[in-house]
Amino acid sequence: MKKTGAKIFVETLLEHGVNTIFGYPGGVLLPIYDELYHAPIRHILTRHEQGAIHAADGYARVSGKVGVCMATSGPGATNLVTGLATAFMDSVPVVAFTGQVSTHLLGNDSFQEADIYGISIPITKYNYLVKDTARLKEVMYEAFYLATSGRPGPVLIDLPKDVQTTQIDEPKLPELTLPLKGPHYTPEERKRQLELILSLISKAERPVIYAGGGVIKSEGAEKALRHLAEKAKIPVTTTLMGKGAFPETHPLSLGMLGMHGTRYANYAVAKCDLLIAVGARFDDRVTGEPSTFAREAKIVHLDIDPAEVGKIIQVDAYLIGQAKDLLQELAEGIEPQGLASHEEWLLQIDQWKRDFPLSYPKKEGVISPQYVVEQIYEKTQGEAIITTEVGQNQMWAAQYYKCSRPRSFISSGGLGTMGYGFPAAIGAKIACPDRIVFDIAGDGSFQMNIQELATAVYNKVNVKVAILNNGFLGMVRQWQELFYGRRYSQTRLSGNPDFVKIAEGYGALGLRVETPEEVPLAIERAIAEDRPVVIDFHVDPEENVYPMVPPGGAINDMLDRKEK
């Protein structure tokens, strides 16, 4: 029996266990939307394609499954660009389908034609323009495989309209013919590296583990990490992307490192004699000036992606593979009795923790943004899924919401996309309907994808948005305060809407909170409410994120609040 490309498309999605798509229809996607009409796939219609891809991304991050989104040709496709780049920088498995004009119109500047294949080359793990229906199934199999295997990432498939309508004989289940690249080191070399690492660990007196998003992505790696850290008594700091890889309530946890990391994490990295980086990529927001980063340490790098090794910092030893496997191997390889003593080191770290805790001023009658995050943490017992936008809200969420399990802190770390948090929260809640999902947002960021309130309300996606409303693009304002003599250029958001009224206009619940006393009550109320809630917290407008490493500085050279 002959089948159209659109039918093959839907069947292949089902073969991959896809039950949710985030999308927005358009002329060239009509054949697929017609097939979706009766398909057992839930289609979430967003209000802007940017919402669709961020939602698919959030869905993927919390579930570990592939997030699928779909947009029409031209502006639909280009509206995905920011979301693709976001997923690419954070290695998130997303498969994005874009409609395209029919193959005979390609290259003619036809209506709603954009060269999304060319556009997305730098921001996808791989991409396809399918010109032949016979190739469609195989391409989709490859795409799902590529998105999830190795270092995950977004894959885009561009589908011309005629490829969707052409009928072909039932295609065979494809055999993947992707090039399999052998290990780039020999087994002997691997053995040598492993032994070197084990010996470095056994000799280290001041070791630190620096865990990144790779630990979250490798199923079960958090257990292996904990086992290794406890067995060898090594303190662990995580990146923003690694939050949840190691329980932040654990005595060995140092919290986050980097530009807005804790002082004790940054001191520990600066003073350590062995740094074990796992699933992390020495990003500039983490390392500050690379030549000053962990300069007293031997550096070990464990990563799935060989290209990350030595990219920013020369390493002394490395292994390539899944974080879980590598961490297990190390944990098995070490013998606690053979290790140098870390007693003194751990005491030193505890001293730093006592001397330099994260703190913020509590002013009478004024809501500190950090207090809001702390209260959300309290009221959800640390069990919620937190998404963030980008800026101060993101850093406060990272500092004050302690995560104990992976896939629970969802944030755009690499690209730093404002407007990511809210649609990502919608995707997260759809993937995990039984968990509380909070988007910790800024007033600037939330406005960027505010239209998705309609998506949340219509689909009864019960997410909570906590706006830390300071009336500023706060992080940029902070930089202007600190480095440009308080010359606030274009960072004041005059003309902010009334967020409560907006929420109501969409049929969500809106709450306004203006005093510290109301904060816990509002959060409790939001949690109890069985519908989307937007809480507008009017917070201290000129509060800053501290500690802070000035850009280009060394990470142990941090700015802090001036004593008043």
């Binding site: 060319g118 730098p122 791989y126 590529l146 992707l178 090039p179 690249k181 290209a307």
Partner: protein, 162 residues
């Protein structure tokens, strides 16, 4: 330092944009890039000449290897590779200089492929150094146009076996 990187890729439309896109995205400088099919029509060989220290080379090779279409990447050591480049050069000539140009061509084993009243077009394939020498000697006559393919290379099997 200069390096010759030989890359085998799956041959399909778009693969060159992926490779070239990577070089611009990561801001690596390439001196030349030549692509053509191999003995297997489904596989294209791309020969890239890059300049940079070992660390740059290491990164280039790893990043290139990461591309989905790339089957293998190898660093061909200069002294263990057979390298060739093809050049077509049009030289200005007069009745007086024509003989001298042809003489130079003969010494290099370059072929005369076209001639007009006031030009000669030569073709030469050879190593980069040979081409450079020829160009240097032709320059005084006036080179009106030149096209070069960029370097292609294969590993020297005889040196591998030693």
């Amino acid at each position: 330092m200069r390096h010759i990187i030989s890359v085998l890729v799956r041959n399909h439309p778009g693969v060159l944009s992926h490779v070239v896109g990577l070089f611009t995205r990561r801001s690596y400088n390439i001196e030349s890039l030549a692509a053509g099919v191999t003995e297997n029509p489904e596989i294209t060989r791309i020969t890239i000449v890059v300049t940079g220290d070992d660390r740059v080379l290491d990164q280039v090779m790893k990043q290139v290897n990461k591309l989905v279409d790339v089957l293998s990447v190898s660093d061909l050591k200069y002294d263990q590779a057979i390298t060739r480049e093809l050049a077509i050069i049009t030289v200005k000539t007069t009745l007086q200089t024509r003989g001298a140009v042809i003489e130079i061509a003969n010494v290099f084993g370059a072929k005369v492929v076209d001639m007009s009243e006031d030009t000669i077009t030569l073709e030469l394939s050879g190593t980069e150094r040979v081409l450079q020498n020829l160009v240097r000697l032709l320059k005084p006559f006036g080179i009106s146009e030149m096209a070069r393919t960029g370097m292609i290379a294969l590993a020297m099997k005889s040196s591998e076996e030693q």
